[in-house]
């Protein structure tokens, strides 16, 4: 593959805190962590997905002026950023493991037609859906 999505970034309130969350708790790996003055380019990867990087970026200078950075911090903190989806093999096991590590779940695993899903937030307020696909998700009424 020569074309495709390589990096998608999240805004986080604190990059050290985000690093601890995504690496020590979720089990991602650091791909790039480079600083230049106030700026820090930080990306992580899910171990089984080497072609994709998740950027953990902090709003602020030199990219944003103070007012814009404040607005972005507010938007993230009130959970208004778009939903993120984490596909897993076993939603219940992920829930048990991450709950024990103190991850803030917004929804316990729920079994629905052919899927199990749960939800959690990162420390900044970004919301993740955890989805396990058990069977082809065809509900009888959607056919």
């Amino acid at each position: 593959m020569t074309q495709g999505i390589d990096v998608v970034g999240l805004y986080v309130r604190d990059q050290d805190e985000a690093l601890d969350f995504y690496v020590a708790k979720l089990g991602f790996h650091v791909h790039t962590d480079v600083r230049n003055g106030d700026y820090r380019w930080l990306t992580v990867q899910s171990p089984e997905q080497p072609s994709f990087q998740l950027g953990l970026f902090k709003p602020g200078p030199p990219v944003h002026d103070a007012a814009t950075a404040q607005t972005l911090h507010e938007v993230v903190a009130k959970g208004a950023m778009p939903p993120l989806v984490y596909v897993v093999d076993n939603c219940h096991a992920v829930y048990e493991r991450l709950s024990a590590l103190g991850v803030e779940f917004t929804q316990e695993p729920i079994d629905r037609y052919g899927t199990v899903d749960a939800g959690f937030r990162d420390p900044s307020g970004n919301g993740w859906k955890v989805i396990q696909v058990i069977a082809r998700p065809h509900s009888p009424r959607s056919q």
């Binding site: 404040q70 507010e74 959970g79 989806v85 803030e104 929804q107 899927t115 959607s142």
Partner: protein
């Protein structure tokens, strides 16, 4: 006016808790405790952050959940009312009609006769998209409909 991101993150926690267990009773004191702010501060801050008073938000979540149960299960309407946090079937039916414009029974019939394409959208996002948009208070909505008539005040404690 700008709110501190730290406060917003704690207010979000209270909103998440209502999402997670909307059938429970959520007094302002309990919500304020989750957000670690004073009860007096909580309601004002929540409305400023999310554009809707906390109890009205809870109401939309309960109705949303009731709609999902009507659509996806064969549970009797009384049972759905209890499961979604109402103490009486009468209050549930009245508020449900006020918010959605139809009775739980007729919504169930209509929802079930409508096929949808949504296999590729996470369930929670589908529900959020179908959440009733409650811009005004239910009592206000009712007042608009029955101008001049005696207003029925909900005695339900949310």
């Amino acid at each position: 006016m700008s709110q501190s991101p730290g406060l917003l993150r704690r207010l979000l926690r209270a909103k998440d808790r209502m999402d997670r267990t909307s059938h429970e009773e959520w007094s302002i004191h309990r919500l304020a405790w989750v957000s670690a702010v004073s009860a007096a501060h909580f309601a004002r801050s929540f409305k400023e952050a999310f554009g809707i008073p906390p109890h009205r938000y809870l109401l939309t979540r309960r109705i949303e959940r009731a709609i999902a149960l009507l659509r996806d299960t064969d549970l009797p309407i009384t049972e759905i009312a209890l499961q979604t946090g109402w103490k009486s079937l009468g209050t549930f039916g009245r508020i449900f009609r006020d918010v959605t414009g139809e009775s739980p029974g007729s919504l169930r019939v209509r929802e079930r006769s409508t096929p949808y394409e949504r296999e590729h959208v996470p369930e929670c996002s589908v529900r959020a998209a179908n959440r009733p948009d409650l811009k005004i208070a239910v009592s206000e909505k009712r007042r608009e409909k029955i101008v001049g008539k005696t207003e029925l005040q909900s005695t339900e404690v949310l």
